[in-house]
Amino acid sequence: MDGEADGSVAASEDPGRRRRVHGMLKLYYGLNEEGKAPEQPESLDPCDINGPHFDPELYLNKLRRECSLAELMDQETCMVKQIRSLDSDMQTLVYENYNKFISATDTIRKMKNDFKKMEDEMDCLSANMAAITDFSARISGTLQDQHTQITKLSGVHTLLRKLQFLFELPARLNKCLELQAYAQAVSSHRRARCVLQQYSHLPSFKGIQDDCHAIMDKLAQELRQKFRDGGSSAKDLSECVELLLQLDEPAEELCDKFLSHARSRLESDLQGLEAEIRPYPATSTLKDASARRSSSTAAVGSPTDSSPKTSSLPSPSSNTDILEFIDRGCNEFVSSLCLVITSYQELFINHAQKGELASKNIPQMANGKLHTFVDDLAARYFSLVERRIQEEKGVGDNSLLVRALDRFHRRLQAVAKLLPGSAVPNQGTEIVVRAATERVKQYLCALQSFYMDSLTDVRQALATPRLSVAGASVAGGGAHLGGPASGRDAPTSLPELLSSLSASILNQIKSVLASVHLFTAKDITFSNKPYFKGEFCSQGVRESLVVSFIKFVCQSSRQFCESAGDKGGSTPPALLLLLSRLCLDYETSTISYILTLTDEQFLVQHHSPVTPVTTLCAEAREAAQKLLNHYVKVQGLIISQMLRKSVETRDWVNTIEPRNVRAVMKRVVEDTTSIDVQVGLLYEEGVRKAHSSDSSKRTFSVYSSSRQQARYAASYTPSAPMDTNLLSNIHKLFSERIDIFSSVEFNKVSVMTGIIKISLKTFLECVRLRTFGRYGLQQIQVDCHYLQMYLWRFVSDENLVHFLLDEIVGSSAHRCLDPAPMEQSVIEVICERG
């Protein structure tokens, strides 16, 4: 039954099934796939039929206890089936293994037979080998003698060849000398020298040696001659030196000679360079300066399009611009200097270190000589370069200079590499630094002169309309000062002037910054020097350029107030106003903008303390304040002058009854209006106290009807002269003290208040110095009413105008011989008619 089952199983079996069967067998024998003992934890269970601790008794009991009969029956069939399949599997395995065993046994038997045959053959081989060894020994024994003879003969041959070389040496040297193949001669001689030295006690060798010496002396002579002549190229020269060194010439002398020779050539380079600078006579510098100015102003307008040629063209001698000059210096001088250094080092230092010369301290000596040599020449070169740089004064295009400096600096790095301990590169950097600071200074000057020039332009722009207006006023018979007229016509262009002025200054600063920024560009070799990273940015650019310029602006503005202070007329008031606004703008925004721009562009790291923005702002504000105060003063004085002249020149006692407002008052109102317009163009309105609904009339009627009447009444009653003062004093008790020439705020109303205060106070003081007749007083009444009608709108507090005009009328009433005030209605009629 097993066989049948097995057969059917084997036939239908797929590998998967076989595998499974193997697995089960393995499990049974306690092996897993890898041949290791299974490590399942459940294997401890005695009821696990597949586990190693399986207890059939326990399992049976368990089954019997737990399962029903049907289940037991099923279990039984299942178990029987499994047992059968296991049995058949086992039979298959046994059969397979049996076959393999049989074939293995066969193979082993076959191998045994083969080895026996091989053993025999090996024995035969060893016997043959022994015979061969024997023969070989015998042959070498017979050939021994001949071999030694041949060796000796070949030794003699080489010796003979050497001797032949020696004998031929003088002739060969002579030939070399003739052909000027010095190098070959020297190398030949070197090869023979030791031998000759050694065998010089033999007369024949002595002869040869003497001959050689004579020839070599001649050769050395010739070499020296050649060296001295110096016409040959550097390469020839170095070859020459090399040979001489090999001929035991004293190295120090050679160094000196080499260097002096090199010096002569380098000096010719330097002279070439100097020739380019030298022809600077005084006349040409003059011409140069004027031409440069024109070029710089041209450059100022549009810094980009100014070609490098124009900036350096002016003088005939500097037709080579600085870049060309530096280029030439680099190509001629620096490169040949480098060549000299390399060949020198090659000859005297590197070479000597290898040979026997090293012991004589030659490298140190040679190095020292080289350093002094280089320092000396470099110093002259630097002085030339500096002279050339100093001539570079046009500020038009900076890139040329920067490029020249860069090249100059870059080429020196080569020297630095060749000559590590040298001070040359540092000196070069210093020159660059000096040039840069000088440049910054020049830019500051250029900025300052630009600023002054633009101010002159503004002045002219302000003056041009004034001329026409002044002419018109003269033609019209106006006998007043020309000053206020500027205020009348300038307004049309004031804001444009301001904006164009500030824009052009800002542009100029920006372009200067851009130019200066070239010094710190990444592709420039010296830009990563600590100076250019730190101090140049903070001290150089920020402090001595930008901050200095801003300070200059403030200071020059202040000077306008001081120098013009006494005359009042030398600076047009409009310019004062404009500058004050400019300074104020600087305070509010421009300064911080410029500084931020600078800091950003130059990545300024403040190692050293720098001027803070607030200080500059405070300075600008102070300047603005001063300018505005001065403006108020100047304008106030112009109006004051008119009022004063009008009061002083009139005979107030014998004047006619007023029919009109005096022309001066109209002029005052006109000028005040034009000043108001002018200021309004640049300054904001400002705060004013609320107006009463009918300011122009109401206030006037108040003082003329109530208070003034009371005053006159008092004057008429001789018994109570105190009342006048009492009333006036009581009034003053309640009004604040007025500071006439006081500081104003930055707005239109405050400025106008200041100007009107000054004017009216002057009016008051002048009135008090005069004596009035009846009509004089009435004229003043009319004038004051007219002023009241028009001036209240300009000031912050109309009570101020009211108060001052009140004082004027009051004072003139006091100074009146016959105080009979005019009817209010008549005054009004006159004023409205005027």
Partner: protein, 387 residues
């Protein structure tokens, strides 16, 4: 140390003219001239009782006209000059005259103070300083420290030197100087220098200050454009012969060394309106008083240009050793020019300020509304100067 409060005295009329009674060295006495077009003008004699802080006033009538300038004789207490305006036929004439106070003005007032207000005595006219040929008088200057025999009057563009004879009852012009130039030139103010044997005069016209030699009546120096605007007043430093102070409508007070007239030695800009009067203290010339139409009076301590720039060094030597160190420290302290004090008792323009001739630490100021204020130098400063 509290300072005494200022003493205020009110006049009934407006007033511009103020002077100390120069010849009086015991009592603190000021003379004030009033300006009134309608009433008789008066000269108020203000006596200040320093111990009791009381003011005594006496009034004398000056019927000739309103007083623009007043000057007291340095020799005779009772003699004074005034410049006044007179109206006649609706024309204004400026005159100058020498007056004598009635001898019994003092006794009268003490006996019946109430009466004096109603029946004031009248000034006695000694002589007129009028010369029809030479315009309107602006001010009259007495010869400083002189015997009261010589005065100068400034009239329009003339400076007239008068000799007073027969106890001032007769005046004759001894010499004149005339300002020549374009336009209508007019002297606004002047000062007779106490130095050089009283042979120099300084005058102001418009923006210029001129110096004159009285012996030849010729100009010796001229400070063109001394001030931006009109020059209002001048004063000589009593101790430094070349030093001169001026003030004007540009709100500035300037100090000049007349040997170098290009630049002022020093400029003060403390006032906010025109400065009308500048006065050196008679004995301590670092103290300078200025009066302005901004209603303020300013006392400045101009140490750097005074005749005693380091205080009294002589006194230090006499001090005992213990105090010496302390004093040295104090002496080395650099004293700076400074405003000592600003007096704001006035409410109208202050046109005049004067130091007392009797007490060097006391001064008076007069504002247009007729208010006279008497003040003292702060005690702290006084002791600092004295010690």
């Amino acid at each position: 140390m509290e300072d005494d409060a200022p003493v205020i005295y009110g006049l009934e009329f407006q007033a511009r003219a103020l002077t100390a009674q120069t010849a009086e060295t015991d009592a603190i006495r000021f003379l004030v001239g009033t300006q009134s077009l309608k009433f008789d003008n008066q000269i108020h004699i203000i006596d200040f009782d320093d111990e009791n802080n009381i003011i005594n006033k006496n009034v004398l009538l000056h019927q000739a006209g309103e007083i623009w300038h007043i000057g007291a004789s340095p020799a005779d207490k009772a003699v004074l000059t005034t410049c006044y305006n007179k109206t006649s036929d609706s024309r204004l004439v400026s005159c100058a005259a020498v007056w004598r106070m009635p001898s019994d003005w003092e006794t009268g007032s003490h006996e019946s103070p109430d009466d004096s207000a109603h029946n004031p005595q009248t000034l006695e006219l000694l002589c007129r300083l009028d010369d029809s040929a030479h315009g309107n008088a602006a001010c009259v200057l007495w010869e400083p420290m002189g015997d009261g025999k010589r005065v100068i009057s400034l009239a329009d563009n003339n400076a007239l030197l008068w000799d007073l004879q027969e106890s001032s009852t007769q005046a004759t012009v001894s010499s004149t100087a005339t300002l020549e130039g374009k336009g209508q030139l007019k002297f606004t103010s002047g000062k007779w220098s106490p130095h050089h044997n009283c042979s120099q005069l300084a005058t102001a016209n418009d923006t210029c200050i001129r110096g004159w030699d009285l012996r030849t009546m010729s100009q010796i120096y001229c400070i063109e454009n001394a001030h931006g605007q009109l020059v209002r007043d001048l004063d000589f430093n009593p101790n430094r012969q070349y030093y001169l102070a001026s003030c004007g409508d540009d709100c500035k007070v300037k100090f000049w060394d007349v040997r170098n007239v290009q630049e002022p030695v020093k400029t003060l800009e403390e006032h906010s309106h025109w400065v009308w009067s500048v006065r050196y203290n008679h004995s301590h010339d670092q103290l300078v008083l200025t009066a302005s139409s901004d209603s303020r009076l300013i006392l400045s301590n101009m140490v750097s240009i005074s005749s005693e720039p380091f205080g009294h060094l002589v006194d230090d030597e006499e001090l005992s050793e213990g105090e010496e160190n302390h004093q040295e420290d104090k002496g080395k302290e650099p004293l700076k020019d400074s405003v000592v004090s600003t007096y704001e008792e006035h409410e109208d323009s202050v046109y005049a300020a004067e130091w007392s001739s009797a007490d060097p630490w006391l001064f008076a100021s007069l504002s247009y509304d007729g208010r006279l204020v008497i003040n003292r130098v702060p005690r702290a400063l006084k002791y600092r100067i004295l010690l």
